[in-house]
């Protein structure tokens, strides 16, 4: 009697089809993805029924952390080929820092010590939030250290300060401003026509705050915008339906 032979079957599975599927999926994700922009704090925006999409170009984003720290992000033209490539995002950022620093020096009489190298580093930053007096030291740090520094909410040197700056203008009258206003004006005056139009219509200013943030903190920001006559702006929200 012959023994019952167990046939040895190969366990090889043909992975080609699987590979095809994964490559297709990968292609889909690669083409549709827009990367999450790095932000110092993660905020969960409240939801609304509004269906207007956030613009990706020509927008100044004001990020308000739950602790009341303010960060700014500047996005210029999405397509650098528009307007001869002269006004891509980095150009706008560089110009904004230059104007803001000059304005700050004129109004406070303090030196910021910002160099051309600093401006070049700054142009690469997606979001920033340090006082102008600290800007030079901050930009000298390596990138990993910058991220670490800016995400420390307990640090008093993080966030754009809303501390009053009192100065006397050419007519001799006293004017109260703050660094946040200096920044917003600098972005407004950065010379990009499309950004200027967007800011005028209200689409170019986006306020992003966490859903739990006390109104008093957000009100501070809104109040400053009102003072600068930037009465129209948009608020970032997530989507919900009317039935919620």
């Amino acid at each position: 009697m012959g023994k019952a032979r167990i046939k040895r079957k190969s366990t090889l599975i043909d992975m080609t089809a699987m590979s095809d599927v994964t490559v297709l999926l990968l292609t889909f994700f690669m083409l549709t993805s827009t990367f999450l922009q790095k932000e110092p704090v993660t905020v969960i925006t409240p939801s609304s029924v509004s269906e207007i999409k956030v613009p990706t170009a020509n927008v100044a984003t004001i990020l308000v952390s739950p602790e009341g720290k303010i960060f700014l992000g500047i996005a210029g033209e999405a397509d650098p080929n528009v307007a001869d490539g002269a006004w891509a995002t980095e150009e706008v950022r560089a110009k904004a820092l230059e104007i803001a620093a000059r304005d700050y020096e004129a109004k406070t009489g303090k030196k910021t010590g910002i160099t051309q190298g600093d401006i070049a580093t700054f142009a690469k930053l997606n979001m920033f939030g340090v006082p102008l007096s600290e800007m030079h030291n901050f930009l000298q740090l390596p990138q990993a250290k910058q991220d670490e520094y800016i995400s420390d909410m307990a640090n008093a040197g993080v966030g754009i300060p809303m501390k009053e700056i009192v100065y006397t203008d050419a007519d001799g009258s006293k004017i109260i401003t703050n660094e946040f206003q200096i920044w917003m004006r600098a972005i407004y005056n950065s010379g990009n026509e499309n950004l200027l139009q967007a800011m005028k219509s209200g689409e170019g200013i986006a306020v992003k705050a966490d859903h739990g943030t006390p109104y008093a903190i957000v009100h501070d920001v809104l109040d400053n915008l009102q003072t600068m006559k930037m009465n129209r702006f948009s608020v970032m929200t997530a989507l919900k339906t009317e039935n919620d």
């Binding site: 992975m15 509004s50 689409e203 859903h211 009102q226 009317e242």
Partner: protein, 243 residues
């Protein structure tokens, strides 16, 4: 990984016949790598772009008091938003996990009892509501109150909406008509004044603005809370008016 197999296995083969070769390439590592990449892209992408809500505030210059109170009293409704927080400043939530946002509101002018001097205002016309939204197809909470106030506009818009749904008018026409109805001064439309206490969560402010959109209210404004408002809330809480 890639292996060349001889077909037929060991068998009787004619001498000189060409061996058939089939090439197997093992795709498992390729799939592994692709999966990793897919995971990376899935985690890094934002598929749903966030939305925006457009707001326009009045300019910050001092407005004449008379100008401000121009709104007809019968049409005005003031919402005061408040949020309950624990001692760490976190928003409290109720049993269902909803944030505890409260809306104090009064219609028309604040009703102050005679002989009031200072301190908490007792027995004012302040009432309390919550953000509930729709329940079983019916409007509830503050939405019902705003809905009732703006009933005439909503009814007219609903008629146009039905026409649009039945393809009698195009979407642009519908949007245009809806806008006209919202701003039609011949029907009674409420004027909503939104105020928020300093502790009120940002979410409650947005939800209130949202209710304006849902209820097609065209006239609303965000205002600062004043002393009388806080005194009314205080009076309301002291009288234990939790209805």
């Amino acid at each position: 990984m890639a292996q060349i197999e001889q077909s037929g296995g060991g068998g009787k083969k004619k001498k000189g016949a060409q061996k058939k070769m089939s090439i197997h390439v093992d795709f498992t590592p390729m799939v592994d790598m692709n999966m990793l990449l897919i995971t990376f892209f899935m985690l890094c992408t934002t598929m749903i772009k966030s939305q925006t809500l457009n707001i326009s505030l009045p300019s910050n210059e001092k407005v004449e008091q008379a100008e401000q109170n121009k709104a007809k009293e019968s049409e005005a409704i003031t919402l005061i938003l408040a949020t309950e927080r624990d001692k760490d400043g976190n928003v409290k939530t109720d049993g269902d996990g909803r944030p505890m946002n409260t809306i104090y509101f009064y219609e028309g002018k604040p009703l102050i009892p005679e002989g009031y001097k200072d301190g908490p205002v007792m027995n004012s016309n302040l009432r309390v509501e919550h953000f509930v939204g729709n329940e079983g197809g019916m409007t509830k909470g503050i939405r019902k109150i705003l809905h009732d106030k703006n009933e005439q506009v909503l009814e007219k818009i609903e008629t146009q909406k039905t026409r649009w749904r039945n393809k009698e008018i195009s979407e642009e026409e519908y949007q245009k008509l809806a806008k006209e109805i919202r701003n039609d001064s011949t029907v009674s439309r409420p004027v909503v004044i939104i105020k928020a206490t300093p502790e009120a969560s940002w979410e409650s402010v947005i939800t209130a603005l949202d209710e304006m959109q849902i209820n097609q209210i065209s006239r609303y404004q965000i205002d600062n809370i004043n002393h009388l408002d806080s005194m009314m809330i205080l009076g309301y809480l002291e009288s234990g008016g939790k209805k």
